[in-house]
Symmetry: C2
Subunit: 340 residues, 2 copies
């Protein structure tokens, strides 16, 4: 059932039918109703490809993942994408995933721009002075960044959680409890989110005239194994830290394993704070002792980013969006006063 058939059925022109269905004012309400009813009765659906060709809009949003596997591996990304995809689906947008392939990420954006494959893209895991935003500005593709760059330029839309504030709060909680040796098991610090976390951590230490010794810090991929290995390493240092600040639940899982193995009681001999992105398969509250966390749902962030991007696509002239989400510090059982 296509437009031509439908309009013949109704003894109307294609124009009128098209306008009736798309809500244009040039058609009488009675006619519109008649068209809508008949369309529903016959189960007419406009062909998406034809519409795209005619309008130049694709009604699709693109996510591109680098061929380098280390990014897509992260379950964080899929939860984020899931949150976004749901919003897109509700708004009648498709979600396009581009992972790897021969082109590099920038080339994919170029192609997207050339053949109008997508109406917008979302940039994930930005790093300091990320070249992607310059390219996208150039290509005039609507986009939004999940996270922020760390440059002086501020010519892009973004949504970010307050990573710096969160880790500052978390660190402060620990220093208030008397901890002076606090380790940080962080994500890759070429990514801004991890960088901001470290800065927050250092800021809170500085308030107490403490400073972080390099051996207490780790920066790397957020795997269980890294969490285990590095927790074990720092906890075996001659002057071992009494608290660990950990950037992901996966790493926390490894760290708990390390503590158990070393026979260190969590919340007593060693305090743990983790960042919880709200992944559904790993619950901070269910741990024993329950885990003190900085908490922010990455899935919700995905949804909100989707909304912002759609708004941006609707009104490209609207001012750039910048949204910073507060992150709650939820104190549970894994933090306690520093042992003496």
């Amino acid at each position: 059932m296509n437009l031509k058939q439908l309009s013949k059925q109704l003894s109307l022109s294609q124009t009128t039918v098209s306008r009736a269905l798309n809500g244009y004012p040039e058609v009488r309400e009675a006619t519109r109703k008649r068209v809508a009813d008949e369309a529903a009765r016959l189960g007419y659906r406009p062909n998406a490809h034809a519409r795209r060709l005619a309008t130049g809009r694709s009604h699709a949003i693109g996510f591109v993942f680098p061929s380098d596997r280390s990014v897509m591996i992260d379950p964080l990304f899929s939860d984020f994408v899931a949150g976004a995809a749901e919003v897109y689906a509700l708004q009648g947008f498709e979600t396009l995933l581009h992972a790897g392939g021969h082109e590099d990420e920038m080339a994919v954006y170029r192609r997207f721009a050339e053949d109008g494959a997508v109406d917008g893209v979302v940039v994930q895991a930005p790093h300091v002075n990320d070249p992607r935003v310059a390219l996208l500005n150039d290509l005039q593709i609507p986009y939004i960044v999940h996270g922020r760059l760390d440059s002086s330029e501020n010519d892009y839309s973004w949504l970010d959680i307050d990573n710096g504030g969160a880790f500052q709060k978390a660190t402060k909680l620990l220093t208030d409890l008397g901890h002076t040796r606090i380790a940080l098991l962080n994500g890759p610090e070429n990514l801004t989110y991890a960088l901001h976390r470290r800065k927050g951590y250092e800021a809170a230490l500085a308030e107490r005239n403490l400073h972080a010794a390099t051996p207490y810090m780790f920066s790397g991929v957020l795997t269980e194994e890294n969490g285990y290995r590095e927790a074990k390493r720092v906890l075996q240092l001659p002057n071992r830290p009494t608290a660990l600040l950990i950037s992901s639940m996966m790493m926390v899982s490894g760290a708990i394993r390390a503590c158990n193995e070393l026979g260190l009681a969590i919340g007593k001999q060693v305090s743990l704070i983790g960042h919880d992105d709200g992944l559904p398969f790993m619950n901070a509250e269910g741990l024993v002792p329950s885990l003190t966390t900085t908490t922010s749902s990455i899935r919700d962030a995905g949804s909100r980013v989707a909304e912002l991007l759609l708004e941006r696509i609707e009104c490209p002239a609207s001012p750039l969006a910048g949204e910073l989400w507060n992150v709650d510090l939820i104190v549970r059982g894994s933090t306690g006063p520093a042992p003496r």
Copy 2:
């Protein structure tokens, strides 16, 4: 730069240029080369939407996730999709993700069929007598199932790992080691993969005239918390199992936590075998003791499924594919003789 401009530039007709670029034989080699060079020089790329409209092929593969969040949460799915997406990208196919929205999964397939949004779909996490394959057969959309149904019908293409065999092997290893009380922490058994695993487990027990007592079994979502809770539960039964068979690494992680908490030495007082899908953030070998696993990369499965689907799309007439992958049992340190 579109086809019309390019052909004008070359003083050729659109037909000839199109044919030259698409490898049709009706054009002289010299002409083809001239066209190709000019196209490359000017950076011409055919408009994807126009091509789709003209050919009726979308060069896209669809994944649809139910609005019910419990499926998409699973990091397994994203790893699978990542593996597939990479293949699609290499073959010039887009990957379409549809998560939630107002339509239910079946309605989305219907829409896909009506407006040719995708050239094929992949069905994940099939359950017994899954209605999706009947619908897809009806709609004539090329598709492939990751996993199998459990019905007598066999009219679909699939790729599956030998879940039954794997868990049978694993259970046999344990009975050979003298274990007689073996618990199974399984995925949701309305899904065939989990059902097959239970059947394999029961078959191996039956070989020794053992049978599984209900309290030793759990079926549910593969979360860390479920692993912890259920491991703890079974290990506190009056007649506690000496070995645990666990369906995912996330659950293993929880189970290890439970063992540590109960002071049970893994590989000595309690043996553990986990199924390892090769997720990059959770390494079985890195555990202490290293974990005995049944191992099969779900990412590789994603890639292979993608290949099979693309073949199917190329030649719809070709016979249905059915590919059963053997699963290796890798014996490491978490299994030992049954304590007496």
